[in-house]
């Protein structure tokens, strides 16, 4: 992905632009190896472990989507649980009508993405805090509407049909692979999107929205795309959730806790990087597993850590790693090599700040 890679670039006067400071060819292979090893897990480990891994996959997919929203498009949505719930209900509705839950998963993803369109139309005008609470109200409204339909369980929900006669071990393994597939697709498509035109537009918006608009960047369209993609991604996570829980309860799948979890994982790991949500998910899972016997403590601690990170380490844990080691596993920005320097980041996502964290405006505006 380098603009100039030939040997001329090494001559004194040339400037080189590469995707990353270090050669990242190995990360592609590394990622493949990780995915293959993870895919073999059901053969190696106990089903208890894969069940925990499915939780991690759900959290990672959600965090990845929330990162796309808040870290790249500057949209702080507190209503993503609407899509988690919709994804779960799509699977339930299709399963009731005789479609196997695993086959229903892709439909749930598409359905959630389509459902995001009218919701976007409702909230598109709003910014920052108003967007946040309006999406929250919207999620509450979606839940209240779904609870009206007694054929899909009303206010209490229903167990997920379609698994009668399945061997539990096999079901656990299939659920695991579905979760893994959803996560890999979510991460890969985020990576590809951000490397492409959308990523460029989002970076332009983050740096200066007015300038981006006047240069012809379609700001509204870019944000809408991100909202729809995030809706589809959260729907996918919700579908996996429904399959792994084997039941769908409105209060559980539409809980604002889902948004809290995805936001905390993304913030702690680092908004505005693809690696951040992965790291954040690991932190989340470790805390959740160690403190699970202490009820709500893990959410209290996660919340406090997230507040501290938002205030004092705005690029999260991955930002700290990146600052010291200059590692990008998924480089979506550019690295500028000038003759004088050994490499200086130029066009990339520099971001303490990512787009919406917003430029520091000491006293310049006004």
């Amino acid at each position: 992905m380098s603009v100039v890679t030939d040997s001329q670039a090494r001559s004194e006067e040339k400037i080189r632009v590469t995707r990353s400071r270090r050669n990242v060819a190995w990360t592609g292979i590394g990622a493949l190896v990780v995915v293959v090893v993870l895919a073999l897990f059901p053969y190696i480990v106990y089903s208890g472990t894969t069940t925990i891994m499915v939780q991690a996959f759900i959290v990672l997919t959600l965090a990845c989507m929330w990162n796309l929203l808040a870290g790249y498009a500057g949209l702080v949505s507190v209503g993503q649980q609407a899509f988690v719930g919709l994804g779960a209900y799509f699977v339930l509705i299709l399963a009731i009508n005789g479609i196997a839950p695993f086959a229903a998963l892709p439909f749930a993803v598409v359905g959630s993405g389509v459902a995001a369109l009218p919701m976007w139309w409702l909230v598109a005008r709003l910014r920052s805090g108003y967007f946040a609470i309006a999406t929250w109200v919207l999620a509450a409204t979606v839940m209240l509407i779904i609870e009206r339909f007694s054929s899909i369980g009303g206010g209490t929900g229903l167990p997920l049909p379609g698994f009668t006669g399945w061997d539990p071990t096999l079901l656990t393994a299939y659920t695991y692979w579905a979760g893994l597939a959803v996560t890999v697709v979510a991460l890969a498509s985020t990576y590809l999107l951000l490397r492409g035109r959308l990523g460029l537009v989002l970076t332009a918006i983050r740096d200066d929205e007015v300038a981006a608009r006047s240069s012809g960047a379609r700001v509204g369209l870019a944000r809408m795309l991100v909202f729809v993609i995030a809706g589809a991604g959260c729907g996918a996570a919700g579908a996996v959730l429904a399959i792994s829980q084997l039941q769908v309860q409105p209060a559980a799948v539409f809980s604002v806790q889902w948004t809290a979890i995805m936001a905390f994982a993304a913030i702690i790991g680092g908004l505005g990087t693809i690696e951040g949500p992965i790291l954040g998910t690991i932190v989340y899972m470790v805390l959740q597993q160690t403190l699970q016997s202490y009820n709500a403590w893990y959410l209290i601690i996660l919340g406090l850590v997230a507040i501290a990170v938002a205030l004092f380490a705005r690029r999260g844990l991955w930002g700290l790693i990146d600052d010291h080691l200059h590692i990008r596993l998924f480089p979506v920005g550019y690295w500028l090599w000038t003759p004088e320097s050994t490499g200086r980041r130029g066009l990339g996502r520099r971001g303490p700040g990512g787009r919406g964290i917003g430029p520091r405006r000491g006293g310049k505006h006004g």
């Binding site: 808040a70 929250w136 109200v137 936001a263 938002a310």
Partner: protein, 291 residues
């Protein structure tokens, strides 16, 4: 007659929603802070009231004399520390921090207290009694009282903002922070004062809710924050009287919804909110700025 009753009840509960909403509206108008922990702070106020009543045995109605100052001090302290330092880092950080705070407060209440519901002053006659007009309309004294308190708070706030020295400072900072700073105003202190007032009204809202209904740790976000926000948006951003109108419209919509089918109560309110969002995004009162 049942519809007249629904509308009267709706207007009166609108006072409660306006009480929730005016703190949210004030903080947005002055600091441009959308406080996602708003509802949980109201619940903290209700729990403090519960504690104060249990310890001192003062009547529930008068607990605000102790709770409001506590919450006001808390508001000033929080604004000067947590909220100000997140404001310095931008709008996104403020949202992340207040959302984090909301989740932390809710789960801390669940962890340290419990998920039980409580109510305030169930034994007091003013809180539980009601009077009737005709045979079908029953009006609780408490709801009338809450509505009056809401109007008094809004009137007081209006007067404070337009006539007092600190009110002028708050408006000056809200209008143009740098010009205000050049005239020698310490905007951080002014923000602190505004937050103290907002938290004071939040405490009143929390106590009123505790007497009107039952509260639990999750009530803060489930109802108070979302209702307050809906009232603010329906009424129009930044206008205090719009907030009252928004609260009343929300209350009437909910009561009419409940009259059709009890389970439509909350949904009807949200649908009106969404309709306003689509049809009249500037709110019913189209004034842009406060004051």
């Amino acid at each position: 007659m049942v519809w007249v009753n629904a509308i009267i009840q709706g207007i009166l509960t609108g006072g409660l929603y306006a009480l929730f909403a005016c703190g949210l509206s004030l903080m947005f108008g002055v600091m441009k802070v959308v406080n996602l922990a708003h509802g949980d702070l109201a619940i903290i106020g209700a729990y403090i009231a519960l504690g104060v009543i249990t310890i001192t045995h003062i009547p529930a109605l008068w607990s605000f004399l102790i709770v409001v100052p506590i919450m006001a001090v808390l508001g000033y302290a929080m604004q000067r520390t947590l909220i100000q330092s997140s404001l310095d880092r931008g709008a996104l950080t403020t949202l992340l921090v207040t959302f984090g705070l909301s989740v932390v407060i809710e789960n801390a209440l669940l962890q340290f207290l419990n998920a039980d519901s409580h109510s305030l002053g169930a034994g007091s006659s003013i809180i539980t009694k009601s009077f009737s007009i005709g045979s079908q309309i029953q009006i609780a004294y408490l709801l009338v009282l809450i509505f009056v308190v809401a109007v008094v708070v809004l009137l007081g706030l209006q007067y404070f903002l337009s006539a007092s020295r600190y009110g002028r400072m708050i408006r000056a900072v809200a209008d143009d922070r740098e010009a205000a700073q050049m005239s020698g105003i310490d905007y951080r202190h002014v923000f602190g004062i505004a937050a103290a007032i907002a938290f004071g009204t939040v405490a009143l809202g929390g106590i009123a809710y505790g007497m009107y209904s039952q509260f639990a740790p999750t009530t803060g976000t489930d109802t108070i924050l979302l209702f307050a926000f809906a009232a603010v948006v329906i009424g129009g951003l930044g206008s205090l009287w719009g907030t009252l109108l928004g609260g009343v419209v929300l209350g009437v919509a909910q009561q009419i919804g409940a009259q059709i089918n009890l389970s439509y109560e909350v949904l009807a309110g949200y649908l009106v909110f969404l309709a306003v969002l689509v049809l009249r995004p500037q709110g019913l009162t189209a004034r842009k700025a406060q004051s």
